[in-house]
Amino acid sequence: MEVMWLLEIVDLSVSIGGKQVLKNFNLRIGSGETHALFGPNGTGKTTLLNVIAGIPRYTIEGGRIVFKGEDITHMSMDERARLGIGMAFQRPPAIRGLKLKDLIKIINPNADAPAILKMMDFTGFGDRDVNRGFSGGEVKRSEMVQLLAQQPDFVMLDEPDSGVDLENIKLIGEAINALTQKDQRPSLRTKSGIIITHFGHILEYMKADKAHVMLNGSIVCSGNPREILEQIKKSGYEGCVACLCPA
């Protein structure tokens, strides 16, 4: 049976400012799957997410990105978003004069803003300018609030747990589970996701189906999220690859 991939990245090479960041990169994510992405700083994880989102600073040197069967490699950011791609930014900007609750309404006029804000314990923040003066953890909750309004089919999470205290990590994990339909039986799930995390705390509160280790712009090892995370903790990224995915 032919597998229906929600997202398919084929031989993608990307550079920024003349420096190659992704080299013949390949990744396939099926409907209903959530993948975790590990790797040292500067290895191209954020670039990958930015390129899938369509941020225009990057040069696509080769390969393609296919989403829902459509080649989106050169599609604009907003078109991709409307097609169902959502992203929680690692360091999102503040938008002066735009209230969070107003942004929710712009993202999705049918969204139940009060319920979403309440779910993220963020009720008082609806009347504040988006991300303005928010703490590190508050920014991450703001990202989740916006994604819960957007309800993308494919959600990308760039370190959603960095700077978040333990209590709120649980909340964020719950939001990710909701976004990726982990409350439903696997066969019924259609929404997918990819998450970048350094310390993996968040994985205790959310379900990831697969994990990958990235080194120097490529995936060098894939497998069970828990096993990979444990090996990384034990022997570092390269040690993990040597142990679990020997060449």
Binding site: I55, A81, P93, G97, I107
Partner: protein
């Protein structure tokens, strides 16, 4: 100042160009306006006047402490709805109160330039608003200066006195209907804010593409007094130049200027000038300019003359087109030790990062730009009653303010 001396000084300044702004040919405008009929209350005004007033945030039928409406040179409504506030047309007030001679042309010189001179020579028209001692109201005095005849030189002279311990809020909308092709508006305003009085003055301008505007404003603030001055210009204008000057004359006096400009064409030269002349005074001036065309000069000048004075200037501009220019001129003049004066100025484009962030949520580039522009213009103004704050927000958040 005796009337004869005012006239004499004005005569000498007939040809005197203003320090800033383009030069206006006064001779090319009509100085005689046809009179209009006065009405008993604002509700009876012609529909087009009420509509035009609404466009500049002046809801004449909503709750107010009073109203003043001037059509061309005729005061058609001057009515107080709150016993703590007196509102009269200027000519009547000058007749009624001899003491007004001590306020008339006291803060703006009749020979400051040819525009003030021109107003000094004209029959007085404008409003006299007096908040009585200790009387406070959050309901604003609503005023509309309506320039309804093509080619007219509309001259206005206002005097505002907030007596000791009073609280007064004024919103003035100055506007022309679409059919007025060409016109000139010169408005002289003198504000006397006495001990511990609190005043907010919000002015919204909406002119035509061939209208020239020269407001001339002087303000004095006594001990413990405060002023929040807000100026909003979002519609096209041919040329406009104003540089209101406030003097903080008594201990602890406070002045705050907020300016919001959306420029599409023309030559706009605006700013504020504050003299901090007494101990513990503080002043703040914040201007936000968006230009998609036309030239905007945003000035700010603060002069600190006594120890302990605090002043902050902020001029931020978003320049969204090659057809526009934003020239930001913040000036700080310290003349004493122990001052705390600062400024920040920035002119630039919309941040790519903010644009991309909103586009990642599905907003088109145009939508995202417009959301950012409206957010930028949404100045948080302190010290205004909630209703008035909301009015200003409604004006600055109009859907038609876009990035191009």
């Amino acid at each position: 100042m005796p009337m004869s001396s005012i006239e004499e000084r004005a005569n000498k300044a007939r040809e005197k160009k203003a320090l800033f702004g383009t030069d206006v040919d006064l001779e090319s405008y009509e100085s005689e306006a046809k009179p209009h009929e006065a009405v008993q209350q604002a509700e009876e005004l012609p529909v087009e006047v009420k509509k035009a007033a609404l466009d500049v945030g002046v809801k004449l039928d909503a709750e107010a402490s009073g109203a003043y409406v001037q059509m061309d040179q005729t005061p058609v409504v001057a009515k107080s709805l709150f016993e703590g506030v007196e509102i009269m047309d200027m000519a009547s007030a000058l007749k009624k109160y001899d003491y007004l001679q001590d306020y008339w042309w006291k803060l703006v010189a009749p020979d400051a330039d040819k525009y003030t001179a021109d107003v000094a020579k004209a029959t007085p028209a404008g409003y006299f608003i007096r908040a009585k001692r200790g009387m406070k109201t959050v309901f604003p005095v609503k005023s509309c200066l309506y320039l309804g005849s093509t080619n007219l030189n509309q001259r206005v002279h206002n005097v505002i006195i907030a007596e000791e311990g009073s609280e007064l809020h004024i919103i003035t909308g100055c506007t022309t209907p679409a059919h007025v092709q060409r016109g000139l508006h010169i408005g002289v305003s003198e504000f006397f804010i006495q001990k511990n009085a609190k005043v907010s003055f919000t002015m919204v301008h909406s002119w035509g593409k061939e209208v020239e505007v020269r407001p001339r404003t002087g303000i004095t603030i006594a001990e413990g007094g405060s002023l929040s001055n807000n100026y909003i210009l979002l519609r096209p204008v041919k040329t406009l130049q104003t540089f209101p000057t406030a003097t903080l004359a008594g201990r602890g006096a406070v002045a705050s200027f907020n300016t919001v400009i959306y420029s599409t064409m023309g030559n706009i030269d605006v700013g504020s000038n504050v003299n901090l002349n007494a101990p513990d005074t503080s002043a703040e001036s914040i201007s936000r300019v968006v230009s998609v065309g036309g030239e905007v000069i945003a000035r700010g000048r603060m002069t600190g003359r006594v120890p302990g004075a605090r002043a902050h200037l902020e001029c931020v501009g978003l320049l969204l087109s090659d057809k526009g220019r934003i020239y930001s001129i913040p000036e700080l003049d310290g003349q004493s030790k122990d001052l705390d004066m600062s400024h920040e100025a920035a002119v630039g484009r919309i941040s790519e990062e903010e644009l991309e962030y909103l586009m990642a949520r599905g907003l088109s580039s145009e939508q995202a730009t417009s959301v950012i522009v409206r957010g930028f213009l949404d100045v948080e103004i302190k010290g205004l009653p909630e209703d008035l704050r909301q009015e200003i927000k409604n004006i600055t958040q109009r859907e038609d303010l876009k990035g191009s």
